[in-house]
Amino acid sequence: MSVVGQGEPALQVTPEILKRHGMTGEEFERLQKILGRDPSWTELGITSALWSEHCSYKSSKIYLREFPSEGPHVVQGPGENAGIVDIGHGWVAAFKMESHNHPSFIEPYQGSMTGVGGILRDIFTMGARPIACMDSLRFGEIDAPRMRFLIDGVVRGIGDYGNCVGIPTIGGETGFHRCYNGNILVNAFALGIARRDKVFHARASGAGNPVLYAGSRTGRDGIHGATMASESFDAGSAKKRPTVQVGDPFTEKILLEACLEAMRTGAIVAIQDMGAAGLTSSSFEMAGRGGTGLRLDLDQVPLREAGLTPYEMMLSESQERMVLVAKKGREEELIKVFRRWGLEVASIGEITDTGRAVLTWHGDTVADIPIRPLTEEAPVYRRPVAEPSDLAARWQAPEVPSPDVSGGLLGTLENLLGNPEFACKSWIWMQYDYSVRTNTVQGPGGDAAVLLLKGTPAGIAMTSDVNPVYCYLDPRRGGMQAVAEAVRNLACAGAEPVGLTDCLNFGNPENPEISWQFREVVRGMSEACKALGVPVISGNVSFYNETEGQSIYPTPTVGMVGVIPNVAHLPDPNFTRAGDRIVLLGRGSADFGGAAYLRLLHDIEQGRPPAVDLDAELRLARLLRGLIAKSLVRTAHDLSEGGFLISLAECCLGRGMGATVTAPYEGADLFSETQARAIVACAPIVVERVLAAAEEAGVPAVDLGETGGGELVVRSGSDILRAPVSTLHEIWSTALPKALGL
């Protein structure tokens, strides 16, 4: 025992203690070597948090490097609290997506609340005012144990947090699959905007500059949250409730306003929120990035209750807290701002040039560690990978039953529209304020959500996409498809993609098949990003999404942002006017690997998911953007899960406008999931121009029929489907509340 940690109980390291800290024996030895002695309790706690999978990305780093992260719009790539892209007119957008899966499964309301809170802080930490949230939610089967409770809690939590802070939740996605019965996914996305020259960074500098603490006091909640998020679940996981943090959106709101105001003083050198691993990760990462040292006087940390140990203070994940480095001599200006907003603020230390973190408490040194070896040189693993042995069986082409088996075309369509997977999700998004801040041009329910960039004609479009079944069957194709679909969704709003953030949700990376999935997904995504010209600017990895050894399907949620030059041309995702011509873009074939038609109606998850023709996707996206920029189309909606007939029906449902078409497909092929397709509708007078533009772009196009009336009429070979839109609407709009038992 060295002098460090004198004021604490002596540390006798046992395998049990290491296990509780999620550390391996090698990692402990590595720490001993870095210190040249045994660590103190506080040092062990700090290191375990920084080296947790959640904070260090130790199993994913080697693959994440494959992502393209540069592009003409990129202002800040990965490595900061959020990535930043230039969106024109002097503005930049900061955005990021982050998982809060583990806490949300244990305690859904607080888990999802703090998920939203954390991602919002990541945004305003960069000096950007948050203007939009999205949430990608994956639940298990609705009838699974606790599932209704989880759905209700997660939705309430997201709503209560975002609504109170006053950030519109304008998009996202919700899916249901049994692979999430024991491990739901809550991925929260936020986007903020700032003037290009007013961006802030979390890079400490300037020895002697004071370190300020602002926001909520520190309590005992969330201790070891990062470690918990780096483990699999078992029967005892319910006991981990105390590791879930508690959110207070009101404090977040005033912290947001106070931080933005404090930034305007010009007295801030660096700023970072206390997220996972709280004071530890924020202070160490800021110093690590800046290559500085740090001295913290833990007696100055504002506490919620007396008696917290240094270990607890450093690992607490109490919410709504920030760490700032102030310009020496100007700290009073900042303190004044935080006090005006009624927030706790304290000077808790200073930046040094030693490269070490020295923490004192009650006159003792409780930690004295070199920073960079802990942050920048954390362990990196190349985990063994193994292709699943049953891959060939998974790829066996499935038998595709005719729609006659599932009630004919009409019965099949009704069946699918009444499935929670396709049902209208308004029960969820009506609990979210999606119009506050008065920028919302296209809210939830469309292909992409669109915000006005106030003071300009431009719009910001965003979408989140992934098909976990595809990713399970063929991770590489699944990864490509998620990116391609996001590009397609943005193109349906006329938006050019400028950047991507992701939440890579996987099982246990120590399982070689999971590591294989991860590698393949990242490669598929990278390939698509390169071909479609979308840089990855931020993201998050969530491993250990498994319960009792049962892993989730690989779920690489893609959040993509695009820019629309002029929102005045924005088409609707629905048919809007009777008499418009309906044109199908792209060519379809029989693609049923992982298709919803087989999964939802016949419980078959088999076959290779549809190939992603990146050239075709690029041609389609360019065509859509061109048509929209010229105001040629009034409706644009992509084809994805469920295929042609589902997308066509969706175009009718939003505004109750019917259509009469001759489908180019027959039987089950109406539900095939061939990629790179979209439906557009245009005035009859311009349909020739639309077809000509498609031909010029090299995109197959066919005029299918026209909008109008109260019925959806589809001629398909010798079959005719005829359904009142109102009947379909009733099925579609009531299915989710019904399934939830409301």
Partner: protein, 244 residues
């Protein structure tokens, strides 16, 4: 004429109202801080939506006790124009400038959607640009908009024609199905006896620009601005008060 938008800690529609007043209606507008003891010469006061003081205790309860509200109360009593939107309406109820109280929405959930409003009373500063019975489409976004009062108090409110807006169908029918939150008698907005204080749950500031697809809310704010500026002298006490 100056418009003042009150900022309580937790207000989150303050920028939206300010934007419409300043950039759409091109008025002189300023923010008023919850600790201000004067209204700095503002003639039209807007209490914006949001979660003042986190809605702790009850929505609007703590904001009603803030220093700025004492000044708003004096302003209202002198006939000055006061508009409370959503949380601002809740604050007006808690302050006693308007009667009644809010309960949780009948379905106990936050509701964000467009609803239809029937204009029950025109000729007020806020409704002088609307027609009797005119149907407006406005967004709501609240968890506590379920207006309630004793039956006799509601009768009195009706008798004094102080119910200004009711939830209705697209065709202007006041039905139970058109009521999004369970509010007594579909009440969405009410005014004080003199007509210079209006509270309503829907958000006119969110539908005041054509780029957002709906301008139904603009007339309400524009009417108040015109009266406050003295550009129109048709209303009695309210206009006089606003021109002090």
């Amino acid at each position: 004429m100056k418009c003042g938008v009150v900022v309580f800690p937790g207000s989150n529609c303050d920028h939206d109202v300010y934007h419409v007043l300043k950039h759409v209606l091109e008025q002189d507008a300023t923010f008023l801080w919850h600790q201000d003891e004067s209204l700095k010469g503002c003639e039209l006061i807007v209490l914006p939506g949001g979660f003042s003081y986190g809605d702790y205790l009850r929505a609007g309860a703590l904001a009603a006790l803030s220093p700025v509200m004492a000044a708003v109360k004096r302003h209202a009593e002198a006939g000055g124009l006061v508009l409370g939107i959503c949380n601002g309406f809740q604050v007006l109820l808690e302050t006693g400038l308007l009667p009644g109280a809010m309960r949780r929405n009948a379905n106990l959930r936050f509701q964000c959607k467009d609803i239809y409003l029937k204009t029950e009373r025109t000729g007020l500063p806020f409704t002088r640009k609307l027609r009797e019975g005119q149907v407006l489409r406005l967004p709501i976004a609240h968890a506590e908009g379920n207006y309630e009062d004793f039956p006799e108090a509601l009768d009195r409110l009706e008798a004094e024609r102080r119910v200004v807006f009711r939830y209705c169908t697209e065709d202007g029918e006041v039905t139970a199905a058109a009521n999004p939150n369970g509010a007594a008698r579909n009440i969405a907005g009410i005014c004080n006896a003199a007509g210079n204080v209006l509270g309503l749950m829907p958000h006119p500031e969110r539908c005041s620009e054509s780029v957002l697809g709906n301008t139904d809310g603009l007339a309400l704010l524009a009417g108040a601005v015109e009266v406050a500026r003295g550009a129109f002298s048709g209303t009695s006490g309210a206009a006089a008060g606003a021109r002090r």
